[in-house]
């Protein structure tokens, strides 16, 4: 049982936010159906809470990664990008 939980936790860590959210929503629906044995319900609840924490953590990860593709001689490169206010002045609409 403990190993199962560990495996589930490891699996959850590898999940995308969307997968985690979907799993979490499935768990909530299942729990709300009231159609699960108490033991399963407790396990589902624990899994759901850890998924929720995981999703919360993912939300907190502030990467600020904004890149712009640059076409160079060696193909496509990237460089960090930050929109500038000055350039917009007088450059109508673009």
């Amino acid at each position: 049982m403990a190993e199962d939980k560990k495996a589930a936790a490891e699996e959850a860590a590898g999940m995308t936010f969307e997968q985690a959210m979907e799993r979490l929503e499935t768990i909530v629906t299942k729990l709300e159906s009231g159609d699960v044995p108490l033991e399963t319900a407790i396990e589902l609840f624990q899994e759901g809470m850890s998924l929720s924490r995981l999703c919360g953590q993912k939300l907190e990860q502030v990467e600020h990664r904004i890149e712009m593709l640059v076409e160079g001689e060696a193909g496509i490169g990237r460089k960090p990008f930050a929109p500038t206010r000055e350039e917009t002045n007088g450059d109508k609409g673009e």
Binding site: V62, I66, L69, P83, T88
Partner: protein, 453 residues
């Protein structure tokens, strides 16, 4: 006249044709005019007249050229036509051979827009079922727009504000002018090739119809539809509609709106998460409550609370059953005994011993009766005999003879002689007396009258 050479009409027409076609001032020129007498022949060639205020010119556009026209020419339409002048030899008529044509002026831009829209709609490019769903939680966002300007700033600021953890990949393009459409097409293709982002925002800020025109180009529309990554269009202001908006998987009224549609708000997500947690907790509490209720219900069962009572009930049942058993057994026994007695009686009634006793009794009775009857008969017979003997004795002739009477028989003493008629004189007769016989012979016979009294 004779010296002068006579040309055939055919030769002359050909000569003129060669001269016209050889004149660079008549080839690859642009004409502006209004279409009239337009005919789209079944062969695919288009025949029409171009006219302006001062003149008119017969035109032809061959099928090979008109196939790629971005619009459908019509009478009254103002166009710019490119081509050269040549001669139709049979009729001796010169005409304009158009190789390209486009609607003239802003009015015709609207026209081209409407026509492309109609065409792509007919092809099913706007159909709801071909639209790809926008992912709920994109891992990365691709932005295709000009790197300078309000649009890119609005998009990035909004994305950052809503969901700062989602990476943004910007593909800079030119969004205006003749290079715009090809560069947008290329950017969409590049993003698809890189396959890093889950959703694309393609757009630019507001502008005039001409400025937005790249987003009305067929090539851009087809690139958007061909993209494997879902596309959110974000062109101009809310009132601006472009072909790109129709063909995109989702249309945003403004670049800011596109960013809002592309990512969920992190704060809203956090709220959603806590809401989900609450729902889980509530469900679990409910389930636990229900389980507790079930347990309590089970624990309250009389089997647990008062096991004795349950036993008593069973004992009572046992007693009742035992009573019934006894009652049934007894009644059955009674019936059986009754029947046995009945049968015994019948059996006794038909017993041979009884019969024998009875017979013996009957026999004894009969014997006694017989004896009785026998002795009675004997007695009465003896009495009768005695009286008869007395009687007989009284009647005995011997007694009579004792008093002096005798009996006369024939000689052999066989027949008693009662009358005189039975004897003849001389017959021998025997006379019996009380003490012996006398043998006598009849001497005489005298009859006598017998008186009666």
């Amino acid at each position: 006249m004779d010296q002068q050479k006579v040309m055939s009409i055919r030769d002359l027409n050909r000569y003129i044709k060669v001269r016209l076609e050889g004149d660079p001032g008549l080839q690859d020129i642009w004409l502006r005019g209004e279409i009239s007498n337009f005919t789209h022949h079944s062969s695919g060639h288009m025949y029409f007249t171009l006219k302006d205020e001062s003149g008119r010119l017969k035109c032809i556009m061959f099928a090979s050229y008109n196939q790629r026209l971005p619009f459908a020419p019509k009478d009254g339409m103002k166009v710019l036509a490119r081509g050269g002048v040549s001669v139709y030899e049979r009729d001796g008529a010169y005409q304009f051979y158009a190789t390209a044509m486009q609607p003239d002026g802003i009015g015709s831009l609207y026209l081209a827009f409407e026509q492309l829209k109609k065409k792509l709609e007919a092809e099913g490019l706007f159909a709801p079922h071909v639209k790809r769903p926008i992912p709920r939680f994109p891992r990365a966002i691709g932005v295709i727009t000009s790197p300078t300007g309000a649009a890119v700033r609005d998009i990035i600021i909004t994305l950052q504000r809503r969901h700062p953890s989602v990476p943004i990949l910007l593909h800079p393009v030119s969004v205006q002018g003749t290079a715009a459409a090809p560069s947008i097409v290329k950017a969409i293709e590049t993003m698809n090739r890189l396959a890093e982002v889950d959703v694309l925002i393609v757009g630019r800020g507001g502008g005039s119809l001409e400025e937005l025109w790249a987003f009305n180009e067929e090539a851009v529309a087809r690139a958007i539809r061909a993209s494997l990554i879902p596309v959110i269009s974000a062109v101009g202001h809310e009132t601006d509609f472009t072909i790109a908006d129709f063909v995109a998987d989702l249309r945003a009224a403004t670049p800011t709106a596109a960013a809002e549609l592309a990512v969920p708000h992190a704060a809203e997500l956090r709220q959603h998460l806590s809401h989900l947690e609450q729902r889980m907790g509530k469900s679990l509490r409910l389930l636990a409550g229900k389980s507790r209720e079930r347990w309590q219900h089970a624990a309250r069962s009389p089997y647990f609370t008062d096991p004795r009572r349950m036993l008593l009930a069973q004992a009572e049942r046992l007693d009742r059953l035992r009573d019934r058993l006894t009652f049934r057994a007894q009644s059955q026994l009674g019936r059986a005994a009754e029947r046995a007695a009945r049968l015994n009686g019948r059996l006794a009634a038909s017993s041979p011993t009884e019969q024998a006793a009875f017979a013996r009794k009957r026999m004894t009775g009969a014997a006694r009766a017989l004896e009785l009857a026998m002795s009675g008969t004997l007695r009465s017979s003896r009495n009768a005999y005695v009286s008869l003997v007395r009687h007989l004795d009284a009647l005995s002739p011997l007694k009579v003879m004792g008093r002096g009477y005798s009996l006369v028989y024939d000689e052999k003493e066989k027949n008693l002689i009662r009358t005189i008629g039975e004897v003849q004189p001389g017959d021998l007769v025997r006379v019996r007396l009380a003490d012996g016989r006398l043998d006598c012979q009849v001497w005489g016979i005298q009859g006598e009258e017998i008186s009666n009294g």
